[in-house]
């Protein structure tokens, strides 16, 4: 480490103001603080600072995503070999899936960080870590067979239109990873929906064994074949077709535990999303006219990306509600809308993405009314106190 420190200190003057490469100062700083904790101190007045800065927060989320990522890799291999009718070991499945996901991760980070670096140079900002999590989330919510150039375009769209236009990290209205997914969903629907895209090799017309359909549980439900659903346990553990990171509710819950314990993700949002799903599920059960509506509410938790959306997407601190009461409302409505879109709208088998994006838009409005009602309540309390004095 000493060697590294010396080398960086040697290079530093060139990148500081007046140096030869001062233009790239923010790139240099970004890389430096990636290795070492910044040594800058406040010199005017005092600020109480938490040790948990943006970089540390992002690292925690990456850590929480790790179980999801590992299981995703395993499941990609599993589904692939299942479609071929080959029995394979666990490690073999994992390596196969890992090597398939790797290009997606590289493209997502390469494009996204490239744009972030350029944008920081143009604006004269410091490079911040906003993309670290987004860059890993994007591959995890993609079908494995998505062509890399499509992923690159979607990432660029998400970073530029979803984030930089609004002013960069911390200013975005929508969750950038979901913007990328929504873009692909509407631009190239053939690659984002259907039965073939979720299992590696099926879009190339690979031979599949009889009895393997590749359809996700949600697709089965939308087609009115909810009797063919995998068992609850299977869907909970996640050995089902789906986007890379969304299948395993178990792995997601481990991630949720890490987020909640470290305080990075809001447990209120997670709980209220599940509560919303429960409420809507029960309501649909009460008025059930078809098999899908009769489906028990807890099935919605383990199908599709309900859990993933609740834990990793809805809790995005930038695009979610900021007020504590607002978080309950925001999360609850996400849960309600997700299940509603799934069951009632035949055009969209999955509703979590659309529900979260919609509620992202309403988050500031929710916050506004929460703050206003608080102000009104306090004014009222003040008036009562005043009246009592008069008496």
């Amino acid at each position: 480490m000493d060697f590294l420190r010396k080398k960086i200190d040697q290079l530093k003057p060139h990148f500081s103001a007046g140096g030869r490469f001062s233009r790239f100062q923010s790139v240099f700083e970004g890389l430096e603080t990636f290795i070492f904790v910044p040594n800058t101190v406040t010199f005017k007045g005092s600020h109480v600072r938490d040790h948990l800065d943006l970089k540390r927060t992002m690292t925690m989320v990456i850590l929480a995503l790790l179980p999801v990522f590992l299981f995703g890799a395993y499941n990609i291999g599993l589904q692939h070999f299942r479609s071929l009718g080959v029995e394979t070991g666990m490690m073999e499945n994992f390596w196969f899936g890992f090597l398939k996901i790797l290009p997606l991760v590289v493209v997502s980070y390469g494009v996204g960080l490239g744009i972030e670096f350029i944008a920081a140079q143009i604006r004269g900002h410091e490079i911040n870590e906003g993309f670290l999590v987004t860059g890993l989330l994007i591959p995890l919510i993609m079908p494995i067979d998505i062509p890399l150039w499509m992923l690159a375009i979607a990432t660029a769209f998400a970073v530029i239109i979803g984030k930089e236009v609004f002013g960069g990290t911390g200013m975005n209205v929508f969750n950038p990873a979901l913007v990328a997914r929504a873009f692909l969903f509407f631009a190239y629907p053939a690659w984002m929906t259907g039965d073939k895209v979720w299992t590696e090799g099926l879009t190339n017309g690979a031979k599949i064994v009889d009895g393997f359909s590749g359809a996700t549980p949600l697709a089965l439900c939308a087609a009115g074949e909810s009797t063919k659903l995998p068992s609850f346990l299977e869907m909970f553990i996640g050995t089902i077709p789906g986007s890379i990171g969304e299948t395993s509710t178990l792995a997601i819950l481990i991630g949720a535990l890490i987020l909640v314990v470290t305080g990075v993700g809001s447990w209120k949002i997670i709980v209220s999303v599940f509560a919303g799903g429960l409420g809507m599920g029960l309501l649909l059960n009460a008025f059930a006219v078809n098999a899908y509506m009769e489906l028990p509410f807890y099935y919605h938790y383990v199908m599709g990306s309900f859990a993933f959306g609740a834990v990793f997407m809805a809790t995005d601190p930038v695009s979610a509600s900021q007020t504590e009461t607002g978080k309950w409302i925001y999360g609850f409505l996400i849960g309600v809308l997700s299940v509603l879109i799934r069951v009632v709208n035949p055009a969209y088998p999955e509703g979590v993405m659309l529900a979260i994006l919609l509620m992202n838009m309403f988050a500031p409005l929710i916050d506004y009314y929460v703050v206003q009602s608080n102000i009104n309540r306090r004014i009222k309390r003040g008036k009562v106190a005043l009246n009592k004095q008069k008496v």
Partner: protein, 217 residues
């Protein structure tokens, strides 16, 4: 007054009436008028061009008519009078399109009729024709129609190229052989939200080049 009457037809002032709406006083990107039709008719170049022409003709001619009548229109009913003039023009254009360009007219469907409610028209009549002579009003109408048209054509060019892989019906992407190497048309470009984003990108581009257009904070 006598000085003004001697003004040449294409004086610097009049030319500026035409060029300003093309750039820094563009009806769509700066005045933010006529957005809805810009979103609706820009999926392909052909309807966008026809729409641009129709709006240009309607706004130019109604400008002249209103300007000629401006001293005789009672102030309290001026909006109604303006609407009658615009509606007459729009019906004429609509009938003309139906007679000579039926396919395009079908593609544009209701949007030709909706030119009546296009904010650019009322905006120009109220802001310009009611206070200026017919000739400058005519140029102003042409300029604003062309300014509207430029944005429409630019947006339609990109939406058609990326969304359908063609330019004015010519299959560019296919001729380049891009489909063979795995390229696919972007379905999002055909959806209306992408037109909004495209117009937004043009506004962004324009304002980053001309800082005077950026609103003061």
């Amino acid at each position: 007054m006598s000085e003004k009457e001697k003004e040449p037809l294409l004086s610097a002032k009049n030319i500026k009436l035409f060029t300003a709406p093309l750039g820094n006083d563009n009806p769509i990107t700066v005045q933010v008028l006529g957005i809805c039709s810009a979103l609706a008719v820009t999926v392909k170049l052909e309807p966008a061009l026809v729409m641009a022409l129709s709006v240009t003709i309607v706004v130019a001619v109604s400008n002249v008519v209103i300007s000629a009548m401006r001293n005789y229109i009672p102030d309290r009913i001026r909006i109604i009078v303006q609407l009658v003039v615009i509606a007459t023009m729009v019906i004429l254009v609509d009938q003309f399109l139906k007679a000579y360009a039926f396919d395009v007219s079908k593609q544009l469907s209701v949007f030709v009729g909706l030119i009546i409610t296009n904010c650019i028209l009322m905006g120009r009549l109220e802001a310009f024709a009611m206070a200026n002579k017919p000739w400058p009003s005519f140029i102003d109408g042409l300029g604003n129609g062309a300014g509207y048209g430029i944005i429409l054509v630019v947006v339609a060019f990109f939406r058609e190229l990326l969304g359908s892989g063609t330019v004015y019906g010519f299959p560019v992407m296919e001729k380049l052989g891009l489909y063979k190497i795995g390229y696919e048309n972007n379905g999002m470009m055909i959806l209306p939200p992408m037109a909004l984003i495209a117009v937004g990108l043009i506004i962004w581009f324009q304002r980053s080049r001309n800082k005077n257009l950026v609103e003061k904070k």
